[in-house]
């Protein structure tokens, strides 16, 4: 199911919400406004697509706290922070906390749209990548014990003959496992195989 990217706008100031919503809609962007971080969190989940545009200084949960909470819940949305009179300390904290970008009020609309567009495509790319990884992991899970071993050893750069000795099977049999494994993983080259083995490594390590 494809979800349209959405801009989650969070600001305690009603006029700013109203004005930015109008502006974003006019620029053809989907946006939803929240008056507090708490309300936004109630709505956000791991399937949310798009980006978060939040004020930094708000009563209740602040923009930085929201950013931390989004990371903790693995919501995986880029967060753009809005601030008045940005100071270095806050900016650094925000970027270290994984903020996508930092905008100073009053906002130049072109820059805003530019940043938001980037954030959305970044989110889409990230989402795509995550989907791909998930698919690949699912494929790895279909491998048999022998096929996994062959994948791992191929990843280490061993030749069929060496793998045969290592596993005490015939090189011919290795060929068969390799062919079946590559088919299951949808690999067409040895380079793909190496990538998959790295993925398997990271999977077994974690």
């Amino acid at each position: 199911m494809k979800i349209d990217p959405m801009i989650y706008l969070i600001d305690d100031d009603a006029a700013i919400r109203d004005a930015l919503m109008l502006l974003l809609n006019l620029r053809g962007m989907n946006a939803e406004a929240f008056s507090s971080a708490e309300y936004a969190l109630a709505k956000l989940n791991r399937d949310s697509r798009g980006c978060v545009l939040t004020d930094l200084r708000m009563p209740g949960m602040s923009g930085l706290e929201l950013l931390a909470e989004i990371n903790a819940r693995e919501i995986n949305l880029p967060v753009v922070l809005l601030t008045a009179h940005g100071d270095v300390a806050t900016t650094r904290a925000a970027l270290r906390g994984g903020a996508f970008d930092f905008l100073e009020k009053p906002i130049d609309e072109d820059i805003l749209v530019d940043v938001l567009t980037h954030a959305i495509s970044e989110d889409a790319r990230g989402h795509q990548k995550r989907l791909q990884t998930e698919t690949q992991l699912a494929r790895i899970n279909t491998l048999t014990q022998r096929e996994r071993q062959v994948l791992t050893l191929l990843g280490r750069g061993l030749q069929n003959r060496e793998i045969a000795i290592e596993l005490s099977i015939s090189p011919r049999t290795v060929e068969v496992y390799k062919a079946r494994m590559m088919e299951k993983l949808d690999c067409s080259s040895i380079a793909d195989v190496v990538k998959m083995s790295l993925l398997l490594d990271s999977l077994t390590r974690s």
């Binding site: 004005a19 930015l20 109008l22 009179h85 906002i107």
Partner: protein, 547 residues
């Protein structure tokens, strides 16, 4: 409440009396002696009433170098009033020695018991003691001389001395403080008028006592004398020492008048002893009242000073925390700005679409205007924050304000202060403005100039003030780095600054403050090569048009 000569005028000026004043003293001395020449001892100047002694002491206390005149007055009074040219050797001697006693008493008062102290209980008691000592010394000398000259039988020495003593004492206690307080008369008068009921009551009381003592029953019945205490002490309790002295004066006059009405030899000397008691009591009580009033007023003054300095302190600390407040204010101001900019951009997009009938356009523009108003409201609050209140317009002389501010900068040892020069027109007319607002504006302009010229060895900052039509132009010019075209255009906008650590509200606030005073703050052409800002303030038409 009666105010007294303040301590700043202490010690009393000790000057020479003018010839007119000396003549006045001379006449008054003889006149007082003449009217009080009642019931003398053997036609000598020994009466139970000598108001001239109070005059003499006050005269010697206030003016220096009058020994000869006072001695002459004593001598002439003796000859004119009592007509005793015989014993010529004793009269000058007596006049000179009695003058010497009073000269000594005047010296003692000047150096040990200044008359300003006769507003406190301890000062008053010391004064009473000094008066008693003076009178007894003068009496001993005087009566002693008469006795030596066989003008008084030796066995009458004591009673004559008592008579002399009480007369001199009463004269001093009553007239010396009264005469030295003549400057306070207007404030005493105001205080009397402020309590008309009490004033009338005391007059009635005096009259009633006078009637009982001298007009009805057994005239001269001393038992009734105590009735005089009621109005006299009341006056002391209500108006302090000055009020009591007025009542006592009225009482003393009525005693003299009353005694002269009596056909029999009335005991004025006895009355005078009672009068002494009354004077001492009244003075002491009055001193307590006056002291309390003065300390209450002093406390009030201190409190006011404290309040003033507290509000100055509050202003100073507000300025000090401006940095902290900067981000709060910036946040607050940026909210409407953000909304405003967004609404305007949205409107622009709606119009660019060619879709001018977009129903949202009108409301969006109105919302934009609302946000602009919200921003200006915040700026107004910022102005009030700086000044803490609405403008209080008053007639002001700019020169002392400028000098005070520059002096404060000098004291703060800010670098570059030495480059400040002032060029003021002579006879600069007064302006109508709020003092605090002007100080904030000027301090902003000077700070900017100091920042702009910082690090320059040849820095010059010129504060000038001159009249221009109906206004006074106050300008701050410098030879600093000046301003870019962009900055010149945006100069008065909030949060526009060329300083790395600046907030950019100084000139915006200053302009708002200037406008609140009915003035104008604008950029002018610098003649020094840096930046020049000019504050135009309306002239005070009432005061300023005078030559």
């Amino acid at each position: 409440m009666v105010s007294h000569t303040s301590n700043t005028q202490n010690p009393a000026k000790h000057v020479r009396a003018s010839p007119w004043l000396i003549a006045l003293y001379f006449v008054a001395h003889i006149a007082l002696d003449a009217v009080s020449y009642v019931q003398p001892v053997l036609k000598l100047g020994i009466t139970p009433l000598s108001p001239q002694t109070g005059l003499v002491l006050a005269f010697l206390y206030a003016y220096r170098g009058n020994f000869g005149w006072v001695a002459a007055a004593f001598l002439v009074a003796e000859i004119v009033i009592r007509g005793i040219p015989m014993h010529s050797w004793i009269l000058p001697l007596q006049a000179i020695s009695i003058t010497a006693v009073y000269q000594g008493a005047a010296w003692l008062l000047r150096h040990k018991i200044p008359m300003d102290d006769v507003a406190t209980l301890s000062g008053t008691l010391k004064f009473i003691a000094a008066a008693a000592a003076t009178a007894i010394t003068a009496g001993t000398v005087s009566v002693g001389l008469y006795t030596l000259a066989n003008l008084i039988p030796a066995d009458q020495f004591a009673s004559a001395l008592a008579r002399f003593w009480v007369g001199d004492l009463n004269g001093i206690l009553l007239l010396t403080p009264l005469l030295l307080r003549v400057a306070d008369a207007p404030s005493l008068l105001r205080a009397l008028i402020a309590q008309p009921a009490a004033f009338v009551g005391i007059l009635l009381g005096l009259f009633a006592a006078f009637t009982l003592v001298f007009l009805v029953g057994n005239p001269g019945d001393l038992r009734f004398f105590y009735l005089f205490f009621v109005p006299a002490i009341s006056a002391a309790l209500i108006w302090g020492i000055p009020g009591f002295l007025m009542a006592a004066l009225a009482l003393q006059i009525s005693l003299v008048v009353g005694v002269q009405r009596l056909t029999e030899v009335a005991p004025l000397v006895d009355l005078q002893f009672l009068m002494s008691t009354l004077l001492v009591t009244g003075l002491a009580l009055g001193a307590v009242v006056t002291e309390r009033e003065n300390s209450a007023r002093l406390a009030l003054q201190r409190e006011k000073q404290l309040r003033d300095s507290e509000s100055n302190l509050a202003r100073a600390s507000r300025a000090a925390t401006t940095g902290e407040l900067a981000s709060t204010l910036a946040h607050e101001l940026n909210q409407p700005m953000t909304a405003l900019v967004s609404y305007l951009r949205a409107s622009e997009i709606m119009m660019a679409d060619g879709n001018r009938n977009d129903a949202r356009l009108g409301p969006t523009l109105r919302k934009a205007a609302d946000e602009a108003l919200r921003a200006s409201d915040i700026l107004r609050r910022l102005r009030n924050f700086y000044a803490g209140r609405d403008p209080q317009l008053e007639s002001l002389d700019l020169q002392p304000i400028i000098e005070k501010l520059v002096e404060a900068l000098r004291r703060s040892e800010r670098t570059g202060v030495e480059s400040i020069v002032m060029r003021m027109d002579n006879a600069l007319p007064a302006v109508i403005a709020d003092r605090v607002f002007i100080e904030v504006i000027l301090s902003n302009l000077l700070t900017n100039a100091l920042d702009a010229t910082a690090g320059r060895s040849n820095a010059v900052i010129e504060i000038a003030a001159c009249r221009s039509g109906k206004t006074v132009l106050l300008s701050v010019d410098d030879n600093g780095r000046g301003m870019s075209e962009q900055l010149r255009r945006d100069l008065f906008k909030a949060f526009v600054t060329s300083k790395a650590d600046g907030l950019g509200v100084g000139l915006a606030v200053s302009r708002s403050l200037a406008e609140a005073c009915g003035g104008e703050l604008r950029l002018a052409e610098s003649s020094l090569g840096g930046a020049k800002l000019e504050l135009a303030l309306p002239i005070d038409d009432v005061r300023g048009e005078l030559p």
